[in-house]
């Protein structure tokens, strides 16, 4: 007879020395594990609860401006810095890590309406309601990163040297523990009308300003090289396409969104909606899509090739959406609205994934997603810039590989069971300030009532006489060539 019996020798299954790792053997047979789904459900529930325990999105506020902050710009070459411009003409460069002002760029007489940074990170362009466009040199980023120097005087010396090397007239002063450089502009161009927005071309030398018309400027010319005009209303925002450097989108006061192509020297397409668009952002990963922040509390995503219908409608704000910015991954975008909240949406999601609010944060006028997709910066009416985490319960700092794996597993198991009632209740729960909660309820009742009436009208009339327009088309009046 042939016989074999299971016999395991201890040395094969245990470690040899105490410095070795313990041996681990895996058998993925499902019959060894009973009640897997119930265990996963319990883990999903615990993961949802832990998420909520660790959800502390607010990192800090950057204090310094003396008037409400209207515009922000991020330097694509330097993660730690952000520019902000306020209503009293004060432009500052902030260091996000220490949350302090690094440089100031005074000069504008009125409100700073637009800020943008060139793609190589060397020049900041600002425009204001004093009809001027100013160009500034950005201080050398690496030398400004002098956290490891304890001596303040040493810091000051370094700044002086960097500024001299930039061939700039400067005035350096010390205030308490910090050293803030004050710069003078590289160039000041005066033009005919007040400006509302500015944006720089990607990988190019041109920038566009929006005001009574859209002007295209070159760095070295004191007059615009080109002007676009379609209609009689002021243009209030402008954005260049990241993938196609000659295409730009603008929005105007006549509730329209216009796409221009610089090579054709004439406007390409126009969409007129029911309400004004406050801001536009192109998706950096899918450059043919852009999302607009509208005055009717929604954001609309469009495909630039097909403007007769919105790709997606993002609803959750209760007041006008003032600004919008995409994450560099192209998967999410952040919006700031007049209703004092900042919301983060998925690029194809109809509702927001996250909402941030504070008692001290008033009307949010500008938002930016940081270039490493981890932080969100909001500038608001109460003269503060606020720094938030993009994922509220994310662990900052260095995450060990095992921790990372565990976080990923918990996220995956939570997403698998997030439709079940108990888990859904915990995952969805967000505290909202009472006025926003009440406003949202009111909007919901109004929209429901409208919908019900429409349904009844349809049910009681001849079939086919009343046509329902889809939500994606409803807010568009017409498309013009």
């Amino acid at each position: 007879m042939k016989v074999k019996v299971i016999s395991r020798s201890t040395d094969e299954f245990t470690r040899e020395r105490s410095q070795d790792l313990q041996r681990v053997f895996r058998n993925f047979d499902p019959s060894l594990r009973t009640q897997e789904k119930a265990t996963e459900y319990v883990r999903a529930l615990n993961a949802a609860k832990l998420d909520k325990i660790f959800a502390r999105p607010f990192i800090g506020a950057m204090d310094g401006h003396r008037d409400s902050i209207k515009c922000m710009a991020k330097n694509p070459n330097y993660l730690k810095g952000i520019f902000s411009g306020s209503d009293d003409g004060d432009i500052r460069l902030w260091d996000i890590a220490s949350r302090r002002t690094v440089s100031q760029f005074p000069g504008h007489q009125g409100a700073v309406q637009g800020l943008t940074v060139s793609t190589d990170g060397g020049i900041v362009v600002s425009c204001g309601s004093d009809c001027t466009v100013r160009l500034w040199n950005v201080p050398d980023a690496t030398l400004a990163d002098s956290d490891n120097l304890s001596d303040n005087s040493a810091k000051a010396c370094l700044f002086i040297y960097s500024c001299i090397s930039a061939k700039n007239k400067f005035h350096c002063y010390r205030s308490k523990q910090t050293t803030t450089c004050i710069f003078q502009p590289l160039a000041v161009y005066v033009w005919k009308n007040a400006f509302r927005a500015v944006d720089h071309q990607w990988d190019g030398d041109l920038f566009a300003t929006a005001g009574a018309q859209v002007d295209i400027w070159n760095h070295n010319r004191s007059q615009p090289v080109n002007t676009f005009d379609w209609g009689t209303d002021t243009t209030i925002s402008v954005r260049f396409n990241p993938g196609e450097p000659n295409v730009l989108a603008t929005s105007a006061n006549d509730r329209s969104i216009t796409l221009y192509d610089l090579r054709m020297s004439s406007p390409a397409r126009k969409v007129i909606m029911r309400t004004k668009t406050n801001s536009i952002a192109w998706n950096p990963m899918e450059p043919m899509n852009f999302t607009t922040a509208n005055e009717d509390c929604n954001c609309y995503s469009y495909d630039a090739r097909k403007l007769d219908e919105a790709k997606c409608v993002h609803k959750d704000h209760v007041s006008a959406v003032m600004d919008i910015d995409f994450s560099p991954t192209g998967r999410e975008f952040v919006t700031g609205s007049y209703d004092r909240t900042v919301r983060i949406f998925q690029y194809n999601g109809g509702h927001s994934r996250e909402v941030y609010h504070t008692k001290r944060m008033q009307r949010v006028f500008c938002v930016k997603y940081s270039c490493d997709a981890s932080y969100v910066i909001s500038g608001s009416d109460d003269t503060n810039l606020r720094l938030w985490k993009a994922k509220a319960s994310e662990q900052l700092g260095v995450v060990l590989p095992r921790e990372k794996k565990k976080h990923e597993y918990l996220e995956a198991v939570k997403n698998r069971y997030k439709h079940l009632p108990e888990v859904k209740r915990i995952v969805r729960h967000r505290h909202l300030p009472k006025p926003i909660y009440k406003a949202a309820n009111l909007r919901r009742t109004m929209i429901e009532a409208e919908r019900r009436k429409e349904q009844r009208r349809k049910a009681h009339s001849a079939p086919g006489s009343i046509v329902t327009v889809s939500v994606r088309k409803r807010r568009i009046i017409k498309e013009v060539e």
Partner: protein, 517 residues
Amino acid sequence: MGAKQENGDDKMDEKVKKYLRGEAANLEGLQDKKLKGQLAVREELYGKSAKAAAKIEKWLLPSEGGYLEAEGIEKTWRIKQESIVREVDILSSRNQYDIVLPELGPYTLDFTLNGRYMAAAGRKGHLAIVDMKTLNLIKEIQVRETVRDVVYLHNELFFAAAQKKYPYIYNRDGTELHCLKEHGAVLRLQFLKNHFLLASINKFGQLHYQDVTMGEMVGNFRTGLGRTDVMQVNPFNGVVALGHSSGTVTMWKPTSAVPLVKMLCHPGPVSSLAFHPNGHLMATSGKEKKIKIWDLRKFEVIQTLPGHANTLNFSQKGLLAAGTGSFVQILADFSGSQNYSRYMSHSMAKGYQVGKVLFRPYEDVLGIGHSMGWSSILIPGSGEPNFDSWVANPFETSKQRREKEVHSLLDKLPPETIMLDPTKVGTVRATRKKEKPTKEEREAEMEAAVEAAKDTVFKTKTKGRNKPSKRARKGKEIIDRAKRPFLEQRIEEQVSRKKQKTNMETEMPKSLQRFVR
């Protein structure tokens, strides 16, 4: 070569099927394109992971299972333990022994989940813990009372003994930790490992469930079917099955006072019960000398075998051990078609009465507790050769044991998750399958009836009885009469639905109404 390859492919397909854990979802009927896309991606990922797991099983598992093949005219059930011991290696031959302890009564045993430790209890009060790897006696105590059953809790540190008046929980050092007074005089104990519940059945036929982490009594029910000492837990779904003297087997869960299932298995009393680890097979034996194998999905008999069985047990690989008198028989299904036939047998010395047979997890060993002590015999092919360290590790260190305890406590399942089909968690409750017409069908029927009513032609009356208002009223009456049965049905349904809803709401916690029908 081609045929061999095909064979290999078939085997891989089977393995892949095992890891897929069910059928793929049917995405044809979905209208939502976004959802369809997301689900299609998920299904593809499932396929990939199942294939990867099947490959690992084929190439990377460290050990192979045991086997016993007879040569020539030999039959496997005639092979004695002595001849097997002569053929295997020294380490395995140490696993075949008889321990004779005649004074302290019939012995019953329990193994920990990893098969490393054994607790033995003699009827006259002898409790012993043995380390099976080194055959070391860790601790033995004499409690000076009748001990009817012993069961390990989640690891080797704690075990519960059903003593004369109450069950007690002891430490590995023999220290008495708890006296569970609420259970009463317990005849059998079972431990549900995923839920940390200790289930017991006592002299009066009362079933108790106690959570051993917090000490909370989760349920106690009067079975109403008298005294019974046949109790097993189904490891697949956590339901406790009791076999009664009327021949019925009832299955219980801790959240309902009424059994889930009541099935008549034998014309006489049920003498023993065992569950297959895959959860689909159950073996029962009755006093009328029959052993029946049941399919638990359809609750039908698959096979009836002749023979007595005082005690039954399934191994990890599906071998069935039946013990009666001083004879133990092992049955196996060779073809995988759930047709059990004789595999091995073992008869002990005449005076020994087999009380309990229990397969040792992850080893090819059968432990037999009998009236003169306990024995251990070798059954090749009964144990799972490859263990998973995160599930049960026979070579566990104390640090690993502590970590595992903490993780299993974090994953402790609430008692509401015990149900007959554990894969239902997280699914959407299916619509009722009665032959009730759907709403659209009913409306269509109603419309059809109304049209038919409208088509009736009235007899034109004379002598001033043909007023147009009367005709209109008559027409309306006929239409209402046609509609009435449908409206009545609708009202009836609404009332019954409301009643059911309130019924269910009172019975079930609110958040779990979705899971249980």
